[in-house]
Amino acid sequence: MLMLGWTWGLLFAPQDAVQGNSYRIIFLHVPSVIFAELIYFFMAVCALMHLVWRVKLGAYLIKSAAPIGAMITFIGLLSGSIWGIPTWGTWWQWDARITSTLILFIMYLGILTLHGSFSNLEKADRLMSILVVIGVVNIPIIKKSVDWWSTLHQPASISVSGGSSIDPSMLYPLLISVIGLGFTLISLGILSSRSYIFIREKNKRWISENV
């Protein structure tokens, strides 16, 4: 799985040599923003699993997915603002999308700090899951309201996606890089959740037998 992830992941570096200029950032930017949200929804599903059916694995998965989510959101923000320098002439715009992505990033950090602040890990798991579930309810609300706000304040806001008529020679590498990043993140997630499960269950017999 790891090998597959890396082979796919490595693919997107050569592929984006197809078209010119700073557009190339799209091959990192768009996938990372997509996964920034997907990971959060994944975490929300895990949180529900943890809260409703008391599956411990759910909490473990959230805990190991949250740093990855924070990282990928950060990459998305960073690539977006660096992309903004040549195209918009500024690295930050109070645009709806950017703002809501920033809020998402803050939420990831909040989840991480919340979990880190408890000595009783089971409590931490449960409270974190509650926060994640509340957060997922709020994401669409935040998105909507930020959208609303930005249309009020800047009617002529800059559209981030490069239009709907995207050329196939750009679309295919984009798709491939989305899939590639997906596999990379899945393998990363498996790795880190494996280590976290080890850490949490180190006293169980099946772990010590299968080191």
Binding site: N120, E122, R200, K202, N203, K204
Partner: protein, 197 residues
């Protein structure tokens, strides 16, 4: 009459087992003294019995759905920015308040009833907290180290009260390092597979 029974209670915190497969039951008018060293899980067991903490495995069964429990733990649940009198007024209605005031007199706290509780000594605060247990009518009394910090006269008043309550058919569960001078069953948490004797 059975008040409450525990079946195969196991509790572990961060995967470390605190105790394993405990079973016991409490009948009305019966006392249970839980003994054990520091960190053997006495307080946790009390919290499990009251349903505050949920056990990792096992079951607590109460035979009356709304069993009235009075509880006094390590935390007094007393507001230290209020006076003793105000604290009592927060807790009780008028009828109960009369009984509470009587106890306040017996404990010698009438002189300080209008001062801030924060200024009271540890023992005085403990007495104030005990009044809650003494006044509320309940079917089960749960006490965690009630005798710590109490002087001899109060301790005697206290065990006298408990003995009277036991004879009235109230169940009692307590932990204490000091002998409470009451006849009750003993549950020792010291060993691994402790059982009620």
């Amino acid at each position: 009459m059975k008040l409450l029974s525990a079946q195969n209670i196991t509790y572990s915190i961060n995967e470390n087992k605190l105790f394993h497969n405990l079973s016991f039951e409490i009948n009305a008018g019966e006392g249970l003294h839980i003994k054990g060293g520091n960190g053997s899980g006495k307080s946790t067991l009390l919290r499990i019995i009251m349903g505050i903490t949920s056990p990792s495995k096992g079951l607590i069964e109460t035979y009356d759905q709304d069993l009235n429990i009075s509880y006094l733990g390590h935390k007094n649940a007393i507001k230290n920015y209020l006076s003793p009198l105000e604290n009592l007024k927060l807790l009780f209605n008028d009828a109960e308040l009369k009984i509470a005031l009587k106890w306040l007199g017996k404990f010698g706290l009438l002189d300080v009833q209008d001062e801030l509780t924060a200024g009271l000594s540890f023992g005085q605060q403990k007495k104030l907290a005990l009044i809650r247990v003494f006044t509320k009518s309940s079917e089960l009394i749960v006490l965690d180290e009630p005798l710590v910090g109490l002087d001899k006269t109060t301790a005697e008043l206290f065990s006298g009260f408990l003995i009277q309550k036991l004879s009235e058919g109230v169940g009692l569960i307590l932990t204490s390092h000091i002998d409470p001078m009451i006849n009750c069953k003993v549950l020792n948490l010291g060993g691994k597979n402790a059982e009620a004797s």
